[in-house]
């Protein structure tokens, strides 16, 4: 256990408590059709327009496995550096609900398709490894809509039968920040692989959070509570904080914690009991007799391995080794496949150091302000590359570049054209600069005298004046040199 300053502990009286968290992430498999039927999976379609007889569980309908979803799950397993199980079994999880047409969910219970793996988190004080317990494939349920009618519930089966990967972590997470980093890393890996789009608003990624607390230094796990179906990182963090404090309060109060399933109320910012262990469903899992065990050959797995792209950890290493980026910079640039692609396109023809600073600095800030993803950036990688080259070869100053950049954000314009049209080219002719400087000194005789008598701070004033007079175009380095001589 690390003893660093960012350790997340809950203090009560003289006791310090550590929080133990495990996540069950439900990630929707990116696939045109459902796990056991040929229905479409497009988000936002009209209710009940993407439902086959199989999805609606008509009599005599049978599931047939979608090979593409199996490939996606295996790829994800490879991305999680996990063991791929060559034999896995689909089980039925039996329970009644209006949006579960079969009366059971087809899932994997004893024999999942993917076994143990790991995810590396980059935390401020170093790397942390989080264990993956398993990944299994299962069907999503439909959606019950309770608020359209005072008496009736409406059911939309578009989601019924959509493929999900349930990714279960080991109880290795210790703070809301680590949960944040874990979800982001998982999302990043799956987006690199193209196996889940990670869109939390659309419900493509959601999680059940298991939380327990224990006194710092204890090796035993406390009793855990499961918080169901939290669909944003922020809510996960809030739920964990609330839940951990609630459990600590109970312990400090001499009470015991009941193992139960809880819900997070996003309005009241609290967790509420949903059902106790005693009320837990008996799902009566058993192997689905409509489906044979899934058997996968070594060749099948090897072929998929050859399709795996460079993943964030490897890319980060390459960026550090090859481009001499700092780990911090590399982390930011590889966090998202779109960002890293953008970066690599920019540096094809321009300076790496400048590109890194401009992307992480100006571009991210500007996109943030406009609430845009990098894929929606008004400035193409090609044009940002041109801008950087204009700075590098001295055509414009860094300051002018910011003006040009702002204009580029208004619509993807070629920076060279902006510089030409607006006459923003940097003044680097020493004679022209001397004339400017002479005039400034002349206009500020008193200050020049003060400077000469020892008030050296005034040097900055003169630089500023020269830049102002030049309309920002004067080459700052030359201005410095000439001013020093003249003054």
């Amino acid at each position: 256990m690390s003893k660093n300053k960012s350790e997340y502990l809950i203090n009560r009286h003289d006791n310090q408590y550590e929080v133990v968290i495990g996540l069950e992430v439900h990630a929707q498999v990116t696939s045109e059709s459902k796990l056991f039927s040929t229905s479409a999976t497009k988000f936002g379609a009209e209710p009940n327009t993407q439902v086959s007889l199989v999805d609606a569980a008509f009599p005599g309908m049978l599931p047939v496995i979608n090979e593409y979803c199996v490939k996606q799950a295996i790829k994800t397993g490879i991305g999680l550096k996990a063991k791929i199980n060559k034999r896995s079994v689909f089980d039925r999880k039996n329970y009644f609900y209006a949006d579960l047409p079969q009366g059971y969910q087809i899932s994997q219970f004893k024999d999942p398709i993917v076994g143990e793996g790991k995810v590396i988190l980059d935390m401020p004080d170093g790397q942390k490894e989080v264990g993956i317990e398993r990944l299994h494939l299962e069907q999503d349920a439909g959606k019950s809509i309770h608020d359209l009618d005072p008496k009736n519930t409406f059911v939309d089966l578009n989601r019924s039968g959509v493929a999900l990967m349930e990714i279960v972590s080991k109880p290795d997470l210790r703070s809301p920040d680590e949960v944040n980093a874990y979800i982001k890393k998982l999302r990043s890996i799956m987006r690199y692989l193209g196996t889940c789009d990670g869109n939390m608003q659309e419900g493509s990624l959601r999680a059940d959070v298991n939380v327990s607390v224990r006194k710092k230094g204890s090796k035993d796990f406390g009793t855990r509570c499961e918080i169901k179906n939290v669909n944003s990182i922020k809510f996960m963090q809030m739920a964990i904080e609330y839940e951990a404090n609630r459990q600590v309060d109970l312990i400090e109060d001499g009470q015991t914690i009941d193992q139960e399933t809880r819900l997070f109320d996003t309005k009241k910012n609290e967790t509420r009991s949903m059902r106790s262990k005693e009320d837990a469903h008996d799902y009566r899992y058993f192997p689905d007799p409509d489906l044979l065990p899934l058997e996968i050959s070594d060749d099948f797995i090897e072929n998929l391995k050859s399709e795996i792209p460079e993943l964030p950890d490897e890319k980060k290493k390459r960026f550090i080794d090859k481009f001499k980026l700092s780990p911090y910079e590399a982390n930011i640039l590889v966090s998202d496949i779109e960002t890293s692609n953008y970066f690599e396109n920019v540096i094809k023809k321009s300076d790496v150091k400048l590109a890194t600073n401009w992307i992480i600095g100006e571009l991210f800030a500007a996109l943030n302000e406009k609430n845009l993803e990098i894929s929606e950036s008004p400035i193409s990688a090609g044009n940002l590359s041109k801008l950087i080259n204009l700075i590098k070869d001295g055509t414009i100053s860094g300051k002018i570049a910011k003006t040009v950049f702002e204009q580029m954000m208004e619509g993807d314009k070629d920076p060279k054209k902006i510089v030409e049209e607006k006459g923003l080219k940097q003044e680097s002719d020493p004679k022209a600069l001397e004339a400017l400087i002479d005039k400034v000194i002349d206009d500020n005789r008193d200050k020049a005298t003060e400077y000469k008598s020892g008030k050296v701070k005034l040097f900055g004033f003169f630089v500023g004046q020269v830049m102002k007079v030049s309309g920002g175009k004067a080459n700052p380095q030359l201005v410095n040199e000439i001013l020093k001589k003249k003054l």
């Binding site: 007889l53 609606a56 569980a57 008509f58 009599p59 005599g60 309908m61 049978l62 599931p63 047939v64 496995i65 039925r92 039996n94 009644f96 609900y97 209006a98 047409p101 079969q102 009366g103 059971y104 519930t153 059911v155 008996d282 009566r284 899992y285 058993f286 007799p289 409509d290 489906l291 044979l292």
Partner: protein, 485 residues
Amino acid sequence: MSDITKQSLSELVENIKSKKLSSSEVTKAFVQRSDKSKELNTYITEDYANALNKAKKFDEKPNLDLKLPGIPMAIKDLFCTRDLRTTAGSKILNNFIPTYESTVTQNIWNEGAILMGKLNCDEFAMGSSNETSFFGNVQNPIDKNLVPGGSSGGSSSAVAAKLTPITIGTDTGGSIRQPASFTGTVGLKPTYGSCSRYGIVAFASSLDQAGPMAQNVKDCALLQEVISTYDEKDSTSIDFKRNEYSKELTKDIKGKKIGIPKEYRVDGMPKEIEDLWKKGIEYAKDCGAEIIDISLPHTNYALPTYYIVAPAEASSNLARYDGVKYGFRAEGENLIDMYEKTRSEGFGAEVQRRIMIGTYVLSSGYYDAYYLKAQKVRKLIKNDFDEVYKKVDAILTPSTPSSAFKIGEKTNDPVSMYLNDIFTVPVNLAGLPGISIPAGHDAKGYPLGLQIIGKAFDEQNILNIAYAMEEKINFKNNITDWWIK
């Protein structure tokens, strides 16, 4: 031709192909006889007008290359039929009209056959006497108030009474072979994976198989040839080389090794069953087969194993009948109340009993002791067969431990009812093909059947043995048309 309905399927096909009969004539004859036979209660849904129309259309442009050209056929109401009500013998589906066709029935229509209607069966195929049907008992044409067996009781009765030239049933634990035995007809349960389960209302997925029910072995072989296809829509369908069973049918079974399992001599087996079996052995010898005594040591455990596995799967398969999407719904105060009322009123007592057994054996804390153990025993039963099939080509047993019983005789004694399946369930558990052929009568003149069990995918072999023995047995069903006034 007044004797159309007395003809076998093969004869009818021949007569239509040679244009001695039209499809309309044949269809009309069977429709008329069916219509006069309402007392048997074989039909749940009649589709006579459509059938006659289709026959007319067939005759306008007859395709005589088909295997079942213009042949009318009524089928068990467990097969989903497009635009025709499919009930599975249950109130819970009594208003259900599929928009799709089962693969097996589609195969039949593709070969030119014409649907006459849907035949009665035990509710969700759960029963051995057709008494659990929501649509009432079926009469065995052999004698008044005699059960026709089950669950394919409407099918066996209809074939024996010649209301349909041939039919299909489904067999989960004996539901084709036992009713065939009770009605003096032939019934084949194919190898698991031979016929697609797509579009058949599921009872127990790992055991259910569709199969032909016919007046004789040749007809049975012809229909098996039509219905058995590999189907990608059923993940348990098996892609193996299928014979042209009727063309390859032969009575030459000389040298075939037929095993007689000692464990099938169960306690309390009536002497007439014992005698029938002995007679069967003699017939087989007469045909040139070699008789070998064998042992299937785990036979005793087959019935209890079956009554764990089948209800377990059924409890889950029947969860979809919840009043939400289709079928019967009872209004309730809330969702749970609606579920309870719908399923209490929609399912009959036997179905509810099996759902409860199945739910129990799968529940946490009991799973290992029941379901898991049953799966292990199932494997042992299969191993028994694998072992003896190293020495023999087929196995000969009685089909049932008794002849048909009276309606109501066993309804209050489920265990005694379950015992009816004692010779048939091991075959389902092992996924093997089995055929029941009529082989004699008991003292009351009721038919008795013999079962021939084959190796997996070896339907041809048991059909051949049945074909050869059929000739030696020369069975005649004694049906008086007592129900026709």
